[in-house]
Symmetry: C2
Subunit: 680 residues, 2 copies
């Protein structure tokens, strides 16, 4: 009688194994991805499989009822204690006695795929650096003395093929009591990354640990710090939150913080302390949200612009403020989270920084590249991430270029006369009737338009306090389309525009968006200065994109991906009316949501993703805008407002772009508003 044939689905891998082989052993022999944390002890249930019986014409086998060994006492015990779903067997217990078809459900795969809810439907394979391993450790023997750590290492070598481990002193300190408490059975968290570093013992728990480990993906912006607490087994986001970057008090934008260092020796250390405190706060907040023990957070991935990168690492960023904009370190960095004074997670947790692309193009841009993979694109894609600086990527599978462009903070509502940060009460949407020149608008925190009869009551709580970045962009674009502003950006007089809303303001004019001054409320106007600020910002952004197009020798791009606040909140139509981005068909403009945050989460969940983006960044061609004469030419040329009318008249409504998220958690929706202020 020949050896039984085993067919695993969905992989389709098949082969003959010796009669009596366990399903788990068969899976390993045939290279089938079947998980196991406890090492065949019937404890972890990670190796659950669903055997099929009967005739499988597709596979050409008929599976007899006795193809697998009977339900055994270990499975019985497991089922009584924790429950085993109908039709499921433990792969480490069930033994193969005849031809059989065995389905490996997704939750039993180590490298399970996580479908990203995305137009591109790119999938991610879970492959985190830190994983749990259950081991049985030999007890000490006076006659063959060896350390407990050495015997643990030996157990990992034999039971898990881990060649070597290292441990920090705090972990060593708990090794002996934990081994004894667990009666020489422990679950260890090991960090094994893609760099060839010796695997690090992060923590250990007595016996078999059921609960998963967590990591935190941190998007560290100049203005806000966002954190996404992620289950390292499933990739699911358990909690997300954002706080203001405590460095704000040293300067709103990056260059003012660099100046602060130049003016105040040691000022960088103050800022380092401040941002590290901020990181601890935000990690603490997500841990509390998810009601987790902070010790269960064993990894942090941090993405940020180069100045924040240096400041959080404790490196003086002065060199980044002047040509040649030299980074102290550009490659990806791995370290102990403690080296960054991060105390709000496991004391042995590891931190990982994505690589910086250049002195102006940081690890946040690398994270966007990781999320959007321009290097795998068949068509030419322009990816724009707007914050105080705009990071721009252009390329396809042949070549990817990157630059940053100093847009300044106007897109975020700063340097605007009635500007404010995106917060309840801020005008975020504007429409101007081309006939009457009358505006209507919406404010954050209220779903109604201002011409709704119930609007006044609905905004009573927050008031109407100012205009945020997306609001000023829409206002200027709508003014242009309503004929209130000429191609040079000049606001017309009441006589020229036919509306008293264009009122004189010194030697220029302002457009009145909202006026409650009669009742002691605010008067919100768009001034000539506001339009000039938006023109400067959008020219810089456009010039950066054009510079990359020049470098590739192209005049148009196939598609545009909007990332960050831009993608989430700024209307692509209005951006194109203003000439912020090159013209493209609106259906080829997609939003990547918080792509930097997504990139951070990808790096958190996959060491292959880390290796991939490190290789990609080395290949990205960097274009420095500051010294390129053509940047200035493009900048000047881009000053005008090109579109005198709606370029997409077929779209009567504001377009809502599909949002992209790579997991099934609801975090994106929860924090979209808070995250809009991310500054890259």
């Amino acid at each position: 009688m020949s050896d039984p044939l085993v067919i695993f689905t969905p992989s389709g891998k098949r082969g003959r194994v010796a009669r009596g082989t366990s399903v788990l052993a068969a899976a390993r022999q045939l290279g089938v991805d079947l998980d196991s944390v406890c090492g065949e002890r019937g404890i972890c249930s990670k190796c659950q499989v669903a055997p099929g019986y009967g005739s499988f014409s597709k596979h050409g086998v008929t599976v007899a009822a006795d193809a697998l060994s009977d339900w055994n006492s270990v499975e019985q015990r497991y089922d009584e204690k924790r429950g085993l779903a109908e039709g499921r067997r433990l792969g480490c217990q069930a033994r193969i006695h005849g031809d059989v078809v065995i389905d490996v459900p997704p939750e039993s795969q180590v490298h399970r795929q996580v479908v990203r809810k995305a137009a591109s439907a790119r999938q991610m394979v879970m492959d985190p650096a830190t994983r749990l391993y259950f081991v049985e450790v030999a007890e000490p023997d006076m006659h063959e003395p060896s350390g407990d750590l050495e015997r643990l290492a030996e157990a990992l070598r034999h039971q898990w093929d881990v060649p070597k481990i290292e441990a920090t002193l705090p972990v060593l300190r708990k090794l002996q009591p934990t081994l004894r408490e667990g009666k020489w059975q422990v679950t260890v968290a090991l960090h094994r990354d893609h760099t060839g570093q010796t695997p690090q013992l992060i923590d250990l728990w007595p016996g078999f640990r059921e609960a998963p480990l967590y990591g935190v993906a941190i998007d560290l912006g100049s203005t806000t710090i966002a954190a996404h607490l992620t289950d390292l087994r499933t990739g699911e986001v358990m909690a997300s939150t954002g706080i203001m970057n405590p460095q704000i008090r040293y300067g709103e934008d990056l260059m003012s913080r660099v100046s602060y260092v130049m003016m105040n020796p040691g000022g960088d250390l103050e800022m380092t302390r401040a941002v590290r405190m901020g990181l601890n706060s935000v990690i603490d907040a997500v841990a509390q949200d998810a009601q987790l023990d902070r010790r269960d957070i064993v990894e942090a991935v941090i993405v940020c612009n180069p100045v924040m990168h240096h400041l959080v690492l404790g490196i003086d960023p002065t060199e980044l403020g002047q040509a040649p904009f030299a980074l102290a370190v550009s490659d990806a960095l791995g370290m102990e989270a403690q080296d960054l004074d991060l105390t709000a997670l496991n004391p042995a947790a590891r931190a990982y920084f994505l690589p910086c692309i250049a002195g102006h193009v940081g690890a946040d841009a690398a994270a966007v590249a990781l999320s959007e993979s321009p290097e795998t694109s068949d068509d030419l894609v322009l990816i724009v991430d707007v914050g105080t600086n705009a990071e721009i990527l252009l390329g396809d599978k042949r070549r990817v270029l990157a630059c940053s462009s100093p847009t300044g903070p106007a897109f975020e509502g700063a340097q605007i006369s009635s500007g404010q940060r995106a917060a309840p009460g801020a005008i975020e949407r504007v429409q101007i009737d081309p006939e009457t020149k009358a505006p209507r608008f919406r404010v954050i925190g209220c779903d109604l338009w201002s011409d709704s009869p119930d609007f006044a009551q609905a905004v009573a709580a927050t008031g109407i306090t100012g205009i945020c970045g997306s609001g000023i962009i829409e206002a200027v674009a709508e003014m242009r389309m309503a004929g209130l502003v000429d191609p040079s950006g000049l606001i017309g007089s009441p006589a020229q525009t036919g509306t008293a809303r264009c009122e004189p303001a010194g030697r220029t004019h302002s457009y009145v968006l909202h006026d409650a001054s009669a009742t002691g409320g605010p008067k919100i106007t768009v001034t000539q200065g506001d339009i000039r600020a938006i023109q400067l910002a959008k020219s810089a952004l456009y010039a950066g994109a054009r510079l990359l197009m020049d470098a590739l020798g192209v005049n148009k791009v196939d598609r545009i991906v909007l990332a960050g606040a831009f993608g989430a909140h700024i209307s692509p139509k209005h951006a194109m009316v203003l000439g912020m981005i090159p013209d493209a068909r609106l259906d080829r403009v997609t939003s990547a949501g918080n792509a930097a945050g997504t990139g951070a989460r990808l790096a958190l969940c996959s060491i292959a993703a880390r290796a991939g983006i490190e290789a990609t960044v080395r290949r990205i061609h960097k274009v420095e805008t500051a010294i390129e004469p053509r940047f200035q030419e493009h900048f000047v040329a881009a000053n005008a407002l090109p579109h005198a009318s709606d370029p997409f008249p077929e779209l009567s409504q504001i377009v809502t772009l599909p949002k992209v998220s790579f997991n099934t958690g609801g975090a994106e929706g929860d924090t979209g508003r808070r995250r809009r202020r991310r500054v890259s």
Copy 2:
């Protein structure tokens, strides 16, 4: 014309090189050990060579006067600035134009040999983990942006074949200013050890750094902490000092400290803080002695017993206090010195612990093994290191065994009625006239014997305060040889011994060594209890040695090496009279001095030594005395005092053994007295 022939002396390596090759390049091609720190820039002068001219019949060549290129401007400048000895050339500047014989002086060899002043004359090759490298780093280029660290790594790769480096954040912080201050020329300290770890960037200095780096070898005993500050280029000891271990207040011996932890939860952390403070103090003291910048100390090697090992690492030592005496970790350990809160040296300094052999046989015993190399011995050697515990090694090139024996602190003057630590005023040498039964003695701090007419005046400053370990051992042995004590250890009555110095004391008798009680001074006696304490201690020591001899199946050893306080201060003759050690010809008994400290210095100066002792320790066979019934048998049998008379009557004087030191510094003599209290 064929390529010129180059012969290097003293290595004798020879070969032909292309005409115009520099001497340094030729040395590298031919595998000749010729140093260079500056990388052929004529700055460091480490590559100085002495070319020979004329006829060399031995080598069969005649060297023409123009065999090397003329003295060039770089050499001229160097000679003017710093002086170049007559006949010397810079190997990086002088180019080979004809057959030549070139001598490489010892100071120009990287792996120079350091002769140990020893009977065995074993030599040590300098091979420290941390060395200096001078590099020229490419300036940043906006068009090819890369981090300063990456360009430094690139320079090390190209100029020094260092494949990869890592840096801690504090070093990264100083990278940019140092590179700019040095105008892109810097000297870096790199730590490259034998473990395959990525080389670590420890520190860097602008331009070429002339001054050497230093390491500190620390012998961390239960009672004292000794440190030897060592030049990592020459191996020379610059300063040595010892302080009391601040843990003393938690218990005199190891087991009382383990008990302290058991009784006081968290007590181990108190002791960890105390000993780390002690380490900082002792490092600080040697740095001040040598008038060095503490930042120039870049390595620490620590040897200690297992309990101290765990306490300094911050690991609860409770498991070491009970069978099976399990170590938390036994292998050698490398870490940042900062992980041990060592702040008295460079912030990025590395620390290395030698491996522990077993739960009772620590890294100090490993250091003794490293110093004495029993695994290379042709004859059977017994190595004994006495402290509160005795570590015993027995073996030869075929097999090495190790055990520890709980001698207790009697050999150090503790638990002795008039006992005291070795300090000025303590009786350290005793002779008893076999006829008159009268003693004479010497005290620490005075070179005269007590029967000298000037003695009273000479000891006036210190007084005569008690009796230290070596004193009590000699006193008991002399009492035995003078017939005052019988083989069972009983002190005779005045009637039996014929001297009133054996005076009644309760139901037993005491021997009066010194009595100043009439003038209000101390009365120093050897009591029956003192003799019992010494008997217990020496029986334990002897039983341990016998147990190892049993395990090897031998009845005698070829030679004995006495290490630690034993070797330095206890007379081997008296030790044999007492039966502390097996009998051997006195000329086959040698002292290894502070062998543990020597082992620590070897490990500091050579990564090959580290790799060697790690391999040796893995092969050492450990014998656990605590559970071996034959230990108890030997212990009981060894209780008697075997020798009723001087076994070496031909030696009228106390034998002074040659001391062993592996360097030319005077540290051994300076600190011998202070170091005697090292407890292993």
